[in-house]
């Protein structure tokens, strides 16, 4: 059986869409998964003429998440970013979110050693010296690793944001 174009689109974007639902809109993981499934099902059926598939799917998941919380507004208070009316300001906010999530996707693709070193240095604020000590290596090696891993991360990030993948 030949591969359906959906397979590639799903593999590329499912993680990002699920992250938007879970992290931007705080939709519980299992519901987030269902929303993403519905987005793809609707995309398949309606075949919209989307010039940028990734952006279209992001717009669609944002709308689905808002709808999700509107239906549950008696259970959970609506937050400011659940507002109904789109605006340029909201588009800018969404763009910032999309960039943070794209960075998340970058880090997920980066691989163990690079990801771990960057995490310790940037997120946990550990020094290159202390990382080197713990890994029983030289600080120079850690600086070298940081340098090459940042470059690799920038390349992945650039590919993700430029190609819409």
């Amino acid at each position: 059986m030949t591969a359906h174009p959906l397979e590639a689109v799903y593999r590329e974007h499912e993680g990002l869409l699920r992250s938007i639902a879970q992290f931007r809109y705080r939709v519980p993981p299992c519901d987030a998964e269902a929303l993403v499934h519905d987005i793809f099902a609707s995309f398949l059926e309606r075949q919209p003429e989307a010039y940028d598939v990734k952006a279209f799917l992001i717009g669609s998941i944002n709308n689905a998440c808002k709808h999700y919380w509107r239906k549950r507004q008696h259970e959970e208070p609506l937050l400011p970013h659940h507002e109904l009316t789109p605006s340029d300001d909201e588009a800018a906010k969404l763009e910032r979110w999309a960039l943070r999530l794209s960075l998340g996707a970058t880090l997920a693709r980066l691989g163990g050693k690079c990801s771990e070193t960057l995490r310790r240095y940037y997120l946990r604020d550990e020094s290159a010296e202390s990382i080197a000590q713990e890994l029983d290596t030289s600080p120079a090696y850690i600086w070298q690793l940081l340098s090459s891993c940042r470059k690799r991360a920038r390349q992945i990030y650039s590919a993700i944001t430029r190609s819409g993948s």
């Binding site: 359906h4 989307a50 669609s60 789109p86």
Partner: protein, 445 residues
């Protein structure tokens, strides 16, 4: 000036103290915009790595997932249904007569969602060339939507909405604006009644509605709808539709004589369309900005925009648009008193418009030339030019009114009483006649 490489700037961003020629790097970056920009990107990336959220996201997506089998089954079922619909429909849609004779809405083989989807797609591509056929296709889609088996009918709201939208599009091209408006109301109702309401669909309805209201001269509504549609398209990352909706909003302002607001939008569209390589939208935005600046009497800016628009439109190989633009530019020069260049440009434009078969535009350009010649006190060719003017309108009433206006002009020219103002008065009447077909010509007081 030689630049630092990305690796060198990255090393500086990571550990400035460890750079041998730190001062040199800092001095260079302070003076070099390109290197400053590159360093900004690197530093912004490093800063973003301090944010816990991307790490949280990374941890939640350890590996890319494959599409679940149920979704793939659905994808294949839709693909099969589409193939079947194409097989049945495509042989019929190359001719309106064949399509009508096939009576697809009486044949249960066509009662599928895929058929409606395909009919709407074909209709969408048909409106501009054959709006009557586009309407036939959209109405067939609607008729099928009403005859679907119960299980499919329950899922058909979005399909009905799309078919109503295509009906509205066809009616818009046919000039049946009231009917188009009604179809859009139905489209909106159908989209809103679906389980999965997508604001993108509603924004397309708003956009079409804005174009219809523009024809109906409801310019405040055009502005509101154009803006709202643009905002939604922006959220969905659809640059082309976003810019198109902004253009409609800007045209709403222009037609309401609010040139300041219009020009602001047109300049914004031009600034966004250029890097996005939306060349046709860029050309239209530049042209509209030039028109507004002309009306604002900011001629220097208008000239720059016309020149830019001409170079963009010429590259698109759109001879009729190019001819109209050059005509506008020539008229602007005459308006500014640059008679030699302007009159020559108008002469060329009227001939070019005539050669392109745009008789009414050629007549208006001739009237611009006549007004210019009178203003430049060169009336010798005026009688000959006026005799050559001929216009064509679709209705008897409009032709009668046009002839009355032209007779008034001929009389004024013959008696030597013609003035630039009188010529412009006739020109304005003829230009607006299609939108006000019942208006009687009134002589200038």
């Amino acid at each position: 000036m030689s630049h630092y490489t990305e690796d060198e700037l990255s090393a500086y961003a990571l550990r400035p103290d460890a750079i041998d020629d730190r001062d040199a790097v800092e001095q260079h970056v302070a003076a070099c915009g390109d290197c400053r920009d590159a360093l900004d990107v690197i530093e912004a990336f490093d800063t973003a790595l301090h944010d816990p959220l991307p790490w949280e996201v990374a941890d939640s997506m350890p590996a890319r997932r494959e599409a679940p089998p149920a979704l793939l089954d659905q994808a294949r079922a839709i693909a099969d249904a589409d193939a079947r619909a194409r097989e049945l429909l495509l042989p019929l849609v190359d001719s309106a007569i064949r399509f009508r004779e096939a009576r697809v809405d009486d044949d249960p083989r066509f009662y599928t969602l895929a058929t409606i989807r395909l009919l709407c797609k074909v209709a969408n591509g048909m409106h501009e060339r054959q709006p009557q056929f586009g309407l036939l296709l959209a109405d067939a889609a609607l008729s099928i939507a009403g005859r679907l088996p119960a299980a499919l009918k329950a899922r058909s709201s979005w399909y009905a909405g799309t078919a109503f939208k295509e009906r509205a599009n066809a009616l818009r091209y046919l000039g049946r604006f009231k009917d188009a408006e009604e179809a859009l109301d139905r489209a909106e109702e159908a989209f809103e009644s679906d389980d999965h309401v997508e604001p993108f669909d509603l924004a397309i309805v708003q956009y079409v509605r804005a174009t219809i209201y523009s024809q109906m001269e409801r310019f405040d509504d055009v502005v509101t709808l154009g803006r709202s549609a643009a905002e939604t398209f922006h959220v969905y990352g659809d640059t082309r539709r976003y810019l198109s909706a902004l253009l409609v909003e800007g045209l709403g302002y222009y037609n309401a004589d609010r040139d300041r607001e219009s020009v602001e939008i047109m300049e914004r569209v031009a600034a966004l369309a250029r890097p996005a390589r939306e060349t046709d939208l860029l050309g239209r935005a530049l042209w509209n900005a030039a028109n507004s600046y002309t009306r604002l009497r900011e001629y220097a800016k208008a000239k720059v925009y016309y020149a830019d628009a001409i170079s963009v439109i010429d590259n698109l190989d759109l001879p009729t648009e190019s001819a109209r633009l050059k005509w506008s530019m020539a008229a602007l020069k005459v308006e500014q008193g640059e008679y030699e260049d302007g009159l020559l440009g108008l002469e060329r434009s009227r001939v070019q418009l005539q050669q392109l078969g745009m008789a009414n535009d050629a007549a208006l350009a001739t009237l611009d030339l006549v007004a210019g010649l009178l203003a430049a006190e060169q009336p010798e060719r005026v009688p000959e030019l006026c005799r050559a003017i001929s216009v064509t309108f679709s209705s008897e009433g409009m032709m009668r009114n046009a002839k009355k206006a032209l007779a008034y002009l001929t009389e004024a020219v013959t008696s030597g009483d013609a003035t630039p103002e009188a010529v412009r008065h006739v020109r304005a009447f003829l230009e607006h006649l299609p939108e006000h077909p019942h208006e009687e010509f009134q002589q200038i007081q």
